[in-house]
């Protein structure tokens, strides 16, 4: 028997039992589309987070006091601006180091008040972080040196406080102190749930006076290239450890963040795919079950085919092709549904979804393999039927 003939025969058999074939396929369809959609969501989440991290800027090292890690208690900062100057000397290029003093404060214009993250920083911030200006200017050296009460607004803060009015040159009140708006940032979105568009940047010196502390929350260092990150990180950490013996300082790089978060999300994607894979397996068991029923029902047909000259391998091939057709047709439908579902999720929900070719290919391959694997037992049973007994079957 020719291969094309076997295929035609199998298609005919599936067509004859349309409803049963469709229901059997349905299990595979669900499994495959679940794999595709869940992997797309996992991958989308990973890409989104990686995009956020990359969106911060390139080659950034964040230096914070204490130990950074899950479950570590926040450490009271003992760093101040002299330490920033020290790190600048260590790094060698002052323009590659910037500082942050953070405080949540109410910001008011007229009767409109919003709660914003007020960040004291300096003129070097734009060298290190990706923070494009929409209008106006960044903080300047003079702003910092003379403790000017000037502010650069995140896009959301500006929208809420000024709506359609151009904020440049206008007054805002931060924690009861009046500031003049000198600049407006482009929207940049959130990073790790930190709404960066809800920030108000003021000179670090002004911020320290505003909150009544001379401490700072962190230092950010920009490396000149990806290869410089790790040596620079070690240099800064070591220098600070020497300056404050017995204390710990952490320097986190984007690469570390990417690595940690990437592996966590990669694992999550794997778990999701595995759960979906189980449903594919269940679909495969369904195929096996239906094929066994089909073999039993068609015992007389098998006996007849054998009497007419079908060899064991002809019968085996016929039933195996039927099983594989069930799973691969189900697989293709599942892929279409999965891709469609992923696109829909991407379009109408905040959940990011990114279709990956490997998951589509894998889902199809697995569904074909499921057909072979779960089809073999029923097909062998059919192939080995004794024609005399099979012909007598009722």
């Amino acid at each position: 028997m020719r291969g094309a003939e076997a295929l035609r025969m199998a298609l005919e058999a599936l067509r004859v039992n349309r409803l049963r074939s469709a229901l059997t396929m349905f299990g595979v369809v669900i499994g495959v589309s679940a794999v595709v959609i869940l992997v797309a969501i996992g991958t989308g989440a990973k890409e989104a987070v990686e995009g956020e991290i990359a969106g911060l800027g390139s080659n950034i090292i964040l230096v914070v006091p204490g130990q950074v890690g899950l479950g570590a208690a926040p450490t009271q900062s003992r760093l101040d601006l002299t330490d920033v100057a020290y790190v600048r000397r260590v790094v060698g290029d002052p323009s590659k180091v910037t500082v942050a003093v953070n405080s949540g404060e109410p910001v008011r214009v007229g009767r409109t008040e919003v709660f914003a993250t007020v960040t004291g920083t300096d003129q070097y911030m734009p060298n290190i972080f990706e923070r494009p200006l929409h209008r106006g200017r960044y903080l300047s050296a003079t702003d910092v040196d003379t403790r000017r009460r000037v502010a650069v607004l995140g896009s959301e803060v500006a929208d809420k406080l000024f709506q359609d009015v151009d904020p440049i040159g206008r007054q805002i009140t931060v924690a009861g102190v009046r500031f003049r708006v000198i600049g407006l940032y482009e929207p940049v979105g959130a990073t790790f749930g930190v709404a960066r568009d809800q920030e108000v940047h003021i000179p670090v010196t002004t911020a320290q006076r505003l909150v009544g502390l001379n401490r700072i929350n962190g230092i950010a260092v920009g490396a000149s290239g990806p290869d410089e990150i790790e040596p620079l990180r070690q240099k800064v950490v070591q220098a600070l450890a020497e300056r404050y013996p017995g204390e710990r300082f952490s320097a986190v790089t984007q690469t570390q963040l990417l690595g940690t978060i990437g592996s966590v999300l990669g694992m999550l994607t794997g778990v999701l795919a595995a759960i979906a894979g189980i449903s594919l397996l269940v679909g495969g068991v369904g195929v096996s079950n239906i094929m066994l029923v089909s073999v039993r029902e068609r015992t007389r047909e098998i006996g007849l085919r054998k009497a007419l000259g079908a060899r064991q391998r002809d019968v085996l091939r016929q039933f195996l092709i039927e099983a594989v057709l069930l799973t691969t047709i189900g697989g293709v439908i599942g892929i279409l549904l999965g891709v469609g579902g992923s696109l829909l999720i991407q379009a109408v929900s905040p959940v990011p979804a990114a279709i990956t070719w490997w998951s589509v290919t894998l889902a199809f391959g697995v569904s074909a393999a499921v057909g072979v694997f779960f089809g073999v037992a029923p097909a062998r049973r059919a192939a080995r039927l004794d024609p005399v007994i099979a012909l007598r079957a009722e």
Partner: protein, 241 residues
Amino acid sequence: MPAVEDTAPAAEEAAFEAVGLTRSYRLEGVSVDALRGVSLRIGRGEFVAIVGPSGSGKSTLMHLLGCLDRPTVGVLRVNGVDVSTLDDGGLADLRNQVIGFVFQSFHLLGRTSALDNVALPLVYRGVGRAERRRRAEEALTSVGLGHRLDHRPSQMSGGEQQRVAIARALVGDPKVVLADEPTGNLDTRNGEEVMGILARLNAERGVAVVLVTHEAEVAAQARRRIHVRDGLIELDDGDAP
């Protein structure tokens, strides 16, 4: 007119040649002999009825002759080939090329057209689609069903269904047609028609017809009768080998 152009040795002229065929089954640990040493020779172009009551072993004999089963002991040559030398695939090929089956309950594929039913043996011979169609159409025409090619078995009478089955048995140009109670499920008129077709095939094409039946009337239409009882040949009124 039987074909006589064969150059094979005389011993291979026979459609079937059996020596001491025994077939035992094990039923719940007990060995039961369905056939207990049957020897016979059926030549090409013969029209033979195997007759016997139920349980006589005639069905077992039929299964052995049809290469659906293998003897426990004994030698069986089908068309000159010793079946013990063949594996399962070889037996399948022998069934496909040498033997045409007609069953009591027709055994047609229900949701398949008459044409495709008849063409089925050719599928396993690797014959192309167009050629299968042509030959199946020819076979159906020869049993008087040239006008019902695309009908399904469910749309046909019992007599028509059995004629489709005969066309299927013939489509591969077999040496022998084995018919197991071919009239058993038919009324008298259809039964006579089917017997008529079998007789005509035998006479016109020289195909050997081996008929298994328990009906004396049907057996009477054959030119030779082999009576089987208790797993042995009781009487063979033909030209003994």
